[in-house]
Symmetry: C2
Subunit: 178 residues, 2 copies
Amino acid sequence: MKKQKIKHGLVIVNTGNGKGKSTSAFGMVLRSWGRGFQVCVVQFIKAETGQWGEVKAAKKLGINWFAIGDGFTWTSKDMDETVARALQGWEVAKEKISSRNYDLIVLDEFTYALHFGWLDTKQVIDWLKANKPEDMHLVITGRDAPAELIEYADLVTEMMEVKHPFQKGIQAQAGIEY
Amino acid sequence: MKKQKIKHGLVIVNTGNGKGKSTSAFGMVLRSWGRGFQVCVVQFIKAETGQWGEVKAAKKLGINWFAIGDGFTWTSKDMDETVARALQGWEVAKEKISSRNYDLIVLDEFTYALHFGWLDTKQVIDWLKANKPEDMHLVITGRDAPAELIEYADLVTEMMEVKHPFQKGIQAQAGIEY
């Protein structure tokens, strides 16, 4: 079991339609890693392709990284598969949270599983209230964070899109958006 | 000189009164580092104390990190010193941008120097238009980004505070906020 380093383990939610929800979580990963914290990331949407900048970085840094999605793009043909993977992701998350091995756990794009009702928000929050270690930070990202999750969280930021390069026809950029 | 890796070097601004402006920039640092990009960070407000999680991480990762502030806390007694350091930071930034050695440069909390008129926003933008390499991403963070900067930028996100643990009397947390 890890040594206690954290007094007030926060529940942090990054939501909104703008950029920076996951990216800011990865900034916390970097900060925490810099402090010698034990860090774990569970990605609910992205597939483990090894092509993402953050996954490449995590491998180099020895961060536990689980990308359990199937690359769901909102036009997925096999929703059963997408839902099954989200449920599997929550099982992984529960195991990692219960293990007390981590100082920081990120559940990246987890809100979708709640927003679309693949998981019951109240049950998830009740489980977290009963099981999240006091000395562990938990970061949850994704659009449309349910009101109950915002109520439960300590720190909530909404990322608002002011201007996006897609408007100029510029594609997503490696190293910046993935 | 670096090899060209980037086609559309973006100008990215993270502004607003919420969390995640710098943290999201550090997430891009992590992603870019994961891709083998050359990364440089110039911090305009924070002093180089070696105590910040991100500075500890950067040292371990071999990222060029310049914290040239004096720890300015908005109640600084010696504003001349604060302004002088901001001007010095801009000289460092210009040198690093012109060097063409970097794929990603972060000017952290740079907007304050513009917002408070320590630097002339139009002159700064004119300089960037003339000198920022096409194949380099530039990330600028801080509250109160001037309208001219938002106009110039490709990708602008406003971080809005929805809920903050200070409201519950919980202090800023290591690994999360610094």
